[in-house]
Symmetry: D2
Subunit: 340 residues, 4 copies
C-alpha cells in the first residue's frame, strides 16, 4: 500500500530529525528565545528579502490563522475569505471562537477575485446601516488554495492594491506555500509575496516539518505584546527550539525549496498517470494536490493498493478524490499508483 | 412631515405608559422577580396555549438573539440562518462575539426553505471531514422575515419536522411577530408557532413597547441557570418591572394583537397608495413593511413630506425604499403619504 | 410594609414619566440619534465641565462595565479591581465573558488604595515572567463603593496620578454616583471626577431612571466605532429615546442632584434610627446604603413591617443587613422603620 | 556553564528521538488517528489502571488547561484554583479568554486545602445573591504544585470527596506529574490519582518529550465532540503521530517513571549541595524544583558557571532562585553546581 492521502502522512525530512538529534542535549532557553529560533528568523527574513520583517513560529495552521486574525482584527471587524477558504470551512469555527466573523464571499476555483472583494467593500461602505454590520478588516487568501490553484502575480498585486486602498491588511495562508512557489505555473517569488502582503505564514507541517508554521509580519506590523497574546490562546510552545531548529534546517541550503520542488515533480508524474488513465479531472491544479472524480467502483479498485482522500461529494455517483504528493513521495509510490 | 421610517419611531402604546405610571411607586423586587412579570408570563403562556412554557424577558432583539443562541448551542455548534437573516447581516457579529458561527445559506424572499436546510444538513453529515467543521446546532428563522414575508403553516411544519429529525432546535425571531400574526396572508396562530418551534421571542420593541422582547421556551428547554447566563452577557435588567409591566399590558385584552392589526390595516392603505402611484414594488409583503424601488429624484420629492428608510441599493439608479407602518401609524400619516 | 431593600424598588421619578408621556408620539430616529439624546449629552457635558467629552447611553450597570472595559482593554490586558468590586464579584463573570481577567487585589472598606495598586503594578513589571501574565490595563473603582463608602478627593487624585504614570485609564463605576456626590462627607464634585478619571458612568437605574447609565469618556478617548461594538454586545437600544429623554430630564434643573440629596437626607434619618435603636453598624457609610448586623430573631422582628436586604453573612449568628434609601424613599417609610 | 534553569532546557529523551526516526517514513493518518497514538492511549490506560478512560493528546500545558477547563465548564461556571495556581497567574488569561473566571482562593504552600474549598463552596451557596455570581464548576489543582510541593493521598481524597459531594469535577494539572510520583515523599500512585480525580494530564513537555501532554478523562466523561472543540481552539495537531509516538515511547518499559526517578535523584543531590552550602531554602520541596533565597552578589557568583531561574522577588535584598533538575540533568551538571 502506498499513500497519496495528504501531504502530512510522513514524519519530518530526515535532515530535520538529524538536526534535532544533534542539538538535543544543548541547554536552551524556552519560548522561542533560543539561538536556533533567532537564526531561523534571520534566514527567513533573508529569503523574503525583508530585513525588517518580524518572524514568529506557531505550531499549526488553524492555530496560526486564529492567532494572526484575532490579534490583527479590531473589535468591530471581521475577515473576508473565499467561501471555500480554510478559515471559513475547515477550522471548526476557530475564527468565530475568537469573537470575529468570517465574511465569506464566492470565489473562483478557490481564489478570491479582486473585483468581488471590491464590490463587497463598496457595497459595505455604501450601505447606510453598515454600523450595524461587521466591518471588513482583513482579506484572507490561501496560496496555493484549498483546491490546489495559484494566484498569479497580477492577481496578487490587484488584491494588494485594493487592500492598501481600503487600508486593511492582506493575509496569505501559506500552509502549502513551498508547493506553490515551486510550481512551474507560478510567477510569484517568496520576495514578491513578502512585498505584496502584510502578513503570511510559511507552512512547515505540510512541507517537511513535524509541526510548525513561520509567521512573517512584513510591514513592521507585528501586534504589540504578541507573545502574551499567543500564550493567552494556548499557542506558546515551551520548547520553542522544536520550531526554531526545524525552520533553521528548512531554510539552510534551500532545503524548503528543494523538497517542495520534489513534491511538484512527483505531482507532474501523478498528472501524467491521471491523463494516461483517463481519470476525469475535477480541478486542474499546478501544485501538489490533484482532484479527480471517481465512482465507488473505481475507488474500490484504486483502494486496493493506494490510500487516497475522499475530498468531497461531486454528484450522486461521483466522489472528488484527492491525490496529494509531498516532500516524502517516492518513485516507488508513483510506480504503485501507475500500476493501480 | 410624517414618518414611515421604521416601526420603532414612537414611544410606547399609551396604555403601557399609563400602567407604568399607575404602578410607579409600588416597591417591587428586582431582576424580574416582581408579580407583574409573573402575571405577564402567565398571560403569554395562556396566549401560546403552552401552560408549561418558560417565559423570560430581554431588552432588545439582538440581545435576545445573542443570549438565546449562545446559551442553547453547544461548544461545537453554529446556527443555520438565511443569508438575509438578521443574525447573519445586521447584528455587528453578535453571534460570533459569543464564539459561534452563523452558517448562512441562501434563502428565498428572506425565508429558509426546508429543502435547502435538508441539503445542507445532509451534505454536512456525509462530509467525512465534518469533525473539522462547525456542526449545525440550531435553525434560525425570522417571522416576518427581514423582507416582510411570512412562512406558511406548511412551510413551518416542514422546518419543524426537519429539525426534529436532526434533533436540533428551531428558533423563531419574532421581532415583528404581531404584524405577522395579524396579516390576512397568515395561516399561523401564536399557538401554532409555540407548538412548532422550540424557542421564539415575541417582539415588543417594534410592537408597542418602549423596549423588551418576551422569550418563550416552548419545550421545557430553558437553559439551566439562565438568569446567570443573562447577567453574564450584561443583559439582566435591574428593574425587571419595566419589561413585566409592558408585556402584562400588551397581553391584557388582546392589546398586542389589536395594535398589530392596526398596523396591518395601515399597511394595506400604504399598499393601495403604492399601487395607485404606480411605484415599483421590490418585494410584495403581506406585513407592515413595504419595499419599493425609487430613483434619487423620486426620493427627493417624497422626502419633502415623508421620512422613509433607504433600505438597500437595488441598481445604479434605484434604491430600495422601505415604508413601514406600526401600531403608531395614524390616518393623518396615511393622508400625507397619499398626498406626497 | 415599607421597603428599604435596595435603591431600585420603585419605577422612575414622576418627572421622567411625564416627559416620556409628553414626547411619546413624536417620531424620532432610533439608536440614540434623536435630539433628546443629543440634548441630554450636552447637558451632561456641561454638568461635567467637559465640553469635549463623549457621552453614550447604555441600559444597565453590568452592561456598562462590560462594554466599557472590553472595548478599552487591549488583548493582553486585564482590569484591576478591589476584591469587593462589582465587576469582580457580582456580574456573573461578565468581564471574563469578554475574554479579559479581573485582577482583584485587596481593598480597604471597599476602596482601592493607591499604595496597593502601586505595589501590584511594581511587582508586575519587576516580575521577569510578566509576559506570561495578564497585563494590568485599567483601574476600576466604584464610587460610592459596594459598601457605601467614598473616595476623598486626595485619594482619587492619587489614583489618577498613578494611572497617568503607568499610562492606563482610570474607570469609575458611578452606579450610585448621585448619592456619592450629594453626601455631606464628599469633597468631590462631578467636575472633579470628570477631570480625574478617564471614563466613568453616571448611574440612572439606581438614581431615578427606569433604566440607563450615561457613560462619559472624558479625555477624547471613546473607542473607535463604539456604536458597532455596543451592537455586537447586544447592548444597543433601538429606541434610544428611552435613555435620552430620561437623562435629559435628570439633567434639567438639577433633578439628578436634588433627588440624590433627598436620598441622602433620608439616609441620615435612617442612621439616626440605627443609632437610637443601638443596632450594630457593620460599615459606617456616608451614602444611601447602611450596613448593620442582625441576628435571625432581630431580622424576623424587623421583617414584620420592613423589607430589607440580606447583604451577606457576618458570622454564625449575625447577618449583614442592608437598609438602602433612594430618591423614592418617603417620610412614611422612615416613620415605619422608626416604629419597627 | 551548566543549566538548572527549568525542566525544559533539553530536547527529548534520546529514546524518543530514536523512535521518531524509526517510524519517520511510515505513512500514517493525521489528527491522532494513527496506531501509535492508539497504542500510547492503551498503555496509559493500563498504567492508570483505568481500562475505560479516554486519553487525548495535546501539545502544551496552558493549551491543555484551557481546552479541558473550557470544554468541561458550563456557561455559568468558573474554576476554583489556588491563588498561586498556574491557570490563575501564569497563562496570560487563557482561561478568561475562553469566557470563564478563575475563582482564586488562598492556598498553603501552593496547595488548595479542602477546608478552604469547602468554606468557599458553602459561602457561595449560602449567599442569596449567588445567581449574580460565577458558579464554582470545577476544582483545579497542580501536582506537583508550582512551588514543588505535593498533595498527600489523604489530602487528595479529601478534595475528591468534597468535589463529589458538590458534584463538580476535580482536575489535576500534572505538568510535572512524573516528578511527583517518583518523589520519595509521595504516597500517591498513578492509579490513585486516576481513581481520585475526574480528569488530569500527564505532562510530557517537562518530562522527556519535545512537546505534548496526555489528558486522561477517568470517569467516562470526555466532552462530546472533543476533537471538534480542540480544533476550534487551534489545538489539533495535524501530525498527531508526533504526540502518539512520544507517549508510546514514554509508557514503554516504564521510561516515564525511570527518567522521572532520575530527576528526583538529581534533585536530592541538589538539596544536599544546598544544605552543605547553607543556602537559605524558600520552600522545602520533595520534587525536582528547589527554591532558595539569594542576594544579588550570590547570584552573580553562582551565575558564573550555573544558569538558574529568578523565580520571584522575596524582599528588597533577596530573590527567590529556582534550581530545577529534570530527566536530562547529568552528574557533570551536579559536579559543576557543587563547585559553584
Amino acid at each position: 500500500m502506498v499513500s497519496f492521502e495528504c501531504d502530512y502522512i510522513a514524519g519530518a525530512h530526515p535532515e530535520i530529525l538529524k538536526r534535532l538529534a544533534e542539538t538535543n542535549m544543548e541547554p536552551l532557553p524556552g519560548y522561542g528565545m533560543d539561538h536556533y529560533s533567532e537564526s531561523a528568523k534571520e534566514k527567513i527574513r533573508a529569503a523574503c528579502g525583508c530585513p525588517d520583517a518580524d518572524v514568529e513560529f506557531l505550531t499549526g495552521g488553524t492555530q496560526a490563522n486564529s492567532v494572526i486574525i484575532s490579534t490583527m482584527l479590531r473589535d468591530w471587524e471581521g475577515v473576508i475569505s473565499a467561501e471555500s477558504g480554510h478559515v471559513s470551512v475547515h477550522e471548526s469555527g476557530a475564527i468565530e471562537y475568537s469573537g470575529h466573523k468570517v465574511l465569506a464571499i464566492p470565489g473562483r476555483e478557490g481564489k478570491l477575485e479582486a473585483a468581488s472583494v471590491r464590490r463587497f467593500l463598496k457595497n459595505f461602505y455604501s450601505d447606510v446601516t453598515h454600523d450595524h454590520m461587521v466591518f471588513p478588516g482583513m482579506v484572507y487568501i490561501s496560496h496555493p488554495t484549498e483546491l490546489g490553484t495559484l494566484y498569479s502575480k497580477a492577481e496578487l498585486e490587484e488584491l494588494s492594491d485594493l487592500c492598501h486602498e481600503y487600508e486593511i491588511p492582506l493575509y496569505l495562508d501559506g500552509a502549502r506555500l513551498g508547493y506553490g512557489l515551486m510550481s512551474s505555473a507560478s510567477d510569484l517569488t517568496l520576495e514578491d509575496i513578502a512585498r505584496l502582503v502584510d502578513v503570511f505564514y510559511i507552512g512547515g507541517t505540510k512541507v517537511g516539518a513535524l509541526c510548525g508554521e513561520a509567521v512573517v509580519f512584513t510591514k513592521n506590523n507585528k501586534p504589540a505584546h504578541f507573545m502574551t497574546s499567543v500564550k493567552k490562546r494556548g499557542a506558546l510552545l515551551a520548547k520553542g527550539r522544536l520550531l526554531g531548529i526545524q525552520f533553521d534546517t528548512l531554510f539552510t541550503d534551500d532545503l524548503y525549496f528543494r523538497i517542495s520542488r520534489h513534491a511538484i515533480d512527483m505531482a507532474e508524474r501523478v498528472k501524467e498517470i491521471i491523463r494516461k488513465k483517463g481519470w476525469k479531472v475535477y480541478m486542474d491544479s499546478p501544485t501538489n494536490q490533484q482532484l479527480i472524480l471517481m465512482t465507488e467502483e473505481e475507488m474500490a479498485e484504486l483502494g486496493k493498493t493506494v490510500i487516497f482522500d475522499r475530498w468531497g461529494i461531486y454528484d450522486d455517483t461521483h466522489t472528488i478524490v484527492r491525490l496529494a504528493t509531498s516532500w516524502s513521495t517516492t518513485e516507488e509510490d508513483i510506480a504503485v499508483l501507475a500500476e493501480a
